[in-house]
């Protein structure tokens, strides 16, 4: 084993044994991605409709901004511990924490997406005889899509970086390496786990950035 823990981490990653089996890197990565996707999805089901409603009607905006601010301020590790004490060890507690973590970005993304539409454009759409639903789905959402995806991007990066906490209360994911390494003072393994989380977060961030660019409405960006 290498003396330098960083080089040790590279050795750890280079070991073919780590890349197969039920506790291998591919499985742990898939688990990690699964937790992230589930957390963001559940949060989106709650936050996106609320954000669209707030953005379209302008109602409860103060409440939404306040709630998002409070949710942002909550310490995720504390939440995971709290939820684990309430619902027990397993996936439910960390998922609840991830949902709480993802909601502020998604909420802000959804309402700023709708709000970003030029009021004159929305007024014209209404005057042409679009229903409120048509204004939302055919004007406001298409025009604000990249901001909405921006919210998804922010939420995803935050959750993917925090999803290692699932291992803290007994679930899988890349956090396993980190907490195992922590328990046995195996620093190369800890660092390797952290590097994997970092790479995953960067890859997702880039992928969603690309999606954000692709969803910018045609006609509003320079050809």
């Amino acid at each position: 084993m290498n003396e330098n823990p960083f080089l040790g981490a590279l050795d750890w990653l280079a070991d073919p044994m780590r890349w197969s089996g039920p506790s291998g890197i591919p499985v742990r990565t898939a688990e990690h991605l699964g937790y992230t996707a589930l957390g963001v999805l559940v949060a989106a089901l709650i936050a996106v409709p609320v954000g669209l409603y707030v953005g379209h009607t302008g109602r409860f905006k103060g409440l939404a901004v306040g709630a998002a601010g409070v949710a942002r301020a909550l310490p995720t590790l504390g939440l995971v511990t709290l939820f684990a004490l309430l619902v027990g060890i397993g996936l439910t507690a960390p998922l609840l924490a991830f949902v709480t973590l993802a909601i502020p970005s998604l909420l802000a993304g959804a309402y700023s997406a709708v709000e970003s539409a030029d009021p004159a454009t929305v007024d014209a759409a209404r005057a042409q005889g679009m229903t409120e639903w048509q204004i939302l789905t055919r004007v406001e959402i298409p025009l604000g899509m990249s901001l909405l995806v921006g919210g998804v991007r922010g939420a995803t990066v935050q959750v993917v970086a925090t999803a290692m906490l699932a291992a803290y209360v007994g679930s899988g994911g890349l956090g396993r390496y980190i907490f195992q390494g922590l328990g046995s003072q195996d620093y190369p393994q800890m660092i390797a786990g952290s590097l994997l989380v970092i790479v995953l977060a960067l890859v997702l961030d880039l992928a969603l950035l690309l999606l954000q660019r692709l969803t910018a409405p045609r006609g509003t960006v320079a050809p």
């Binding site: 004159a120 454009t121 014209a124 005057a127 005889g129 048509q134 025009l143 006609g219 509003t220």
Partner: protein
């Protein structure tokens, strides 16, 4: 026919946009509502398609109270053209024009075919069909706005300062095209503007509004110019500054019309359109400084 009956609009907080307004607009008539900002002209126009609901009084179309109509259905039956066009920036010219017909359930192919015809009607190059609004000039955008307003073949066309944001030369061109269109289509047009010259050009009748939607005078441009009811109207149409007071001078055998400042405004023609014969005898004597220039250059106003 559009009727306003004792219409009032008061906003929460007590701001009164329109105090008590009544006016009948005949079918196929173009009426220009003209006034300064705060005269309530846009508010009044938007009551017709229920973009604004009056606090009191009623608005009716062909004797049917608009308050009893579904606003969405009502709006789809009325053309609406606004300042800065209000086009959907993420849709092509063709898709913008077909917005209302598609909302009304017209098949897309049919709507597109009609949209291409309309592009021709409003003087748009067919090559622009697949462009986005941001790729067009201001004048072209306004033409798309007019085409969109006409796309569902509405009886009523509401126009809210539609040419306010384009330069004077393009505005003049668009006003001329609207006059030509109106001669062909005979829509009922309600045209909101703060420009009295535009109101006189577009409106069969013109309603000059004071703040709060109070009518200072309603009439044909000729009636208003011939007999402004009060100083407010006289000042609004420019009669008090002499801009509307013209007299005839004889220059080189022609009748030249000159305004109060002595600037040439044009050449007087007979009812048959031929240039008037002012008589050679007194022509030279009456030539003013402006008229002289006109006689040599045939300078338009």
């Amino acid at each position: 026919m559009i009727g306003f009956e004792n219409v009032r609009k008061e906003y929460p907080g007590g701001t009164v946009a329109v105090e008590d307004f009544s006016l009948e607009i005949a079918s196929h008539e173009a009426v220009a509502l003209v006034g300064t900002s705060g005269s309530g002209k846009t508010t009044l126009m938007r009551m017709i398609n229920r973009m604004v609901d009056p606090t009191a009084g009623r608005v009716h179309i062909d004797d049917e109270d608009v308050a009893a109509m579904d606003p969405v259905v009502l709006r789809r039956s009325i053309g609406y053209v606004m300042q800065a066009s209000g086009l959907l920036p993420h849709r092509t010219v063709l898709d913008n024009i077909t917005t209302v017909p598609v909302l009304r359930g017209t098949a897309k192919g049919e709507a597109r075919e009609r949209a291409r015809t309309l592009m021709d009607t409003v003087g748009l190059d067919p090559d622009l069909a697949d462009r986005y609004p941001a790729q067009l000039s201001g004048g072209q955008q306004q033409r798309v706005g007019v085409a969109r307003g006409l796309a569902a073949d509405p009886n009523i066309l509401l126009m809210d300062e539609p040419f306010g944001a384009v330069d004077p030369i393009v505005r003049d061109e668009l006003q001329g095209e609207l006059q030509r269109l109106q001669r062909e289509l005979r829509k009922t047009i309600v045209f909101v503007t703060h420009d009295i010259d535009e109101a006189f050009r577009i409106g069969d009748r013109v309603a000059i509004l004071r703040p709060g939607g109070r009518i200072a005078q309603v009439g044909t441009p000729q009636e208003i110019l011939a007999d402004p009811t009060d100083d407010f109207v006289a000042s609004f149409v420019g009669a008090d500054r002499g801009a509307r007071t013209l007299h005839v001078e004889h220059v080189d055998g022609r009748d030249v019309v000159v305004d109060a400042d002595g600037r040439a405004a044009g050449v007087l023609a007979g009812a048959d359109g031929r240039l008037g014969d002012g008589g050679a005898a007194d022509g030279d004597a009456a030539a003013g400084p402006g008229a002289e220039a006109l006689a040599t250059e045939e300078r338009p106003r």
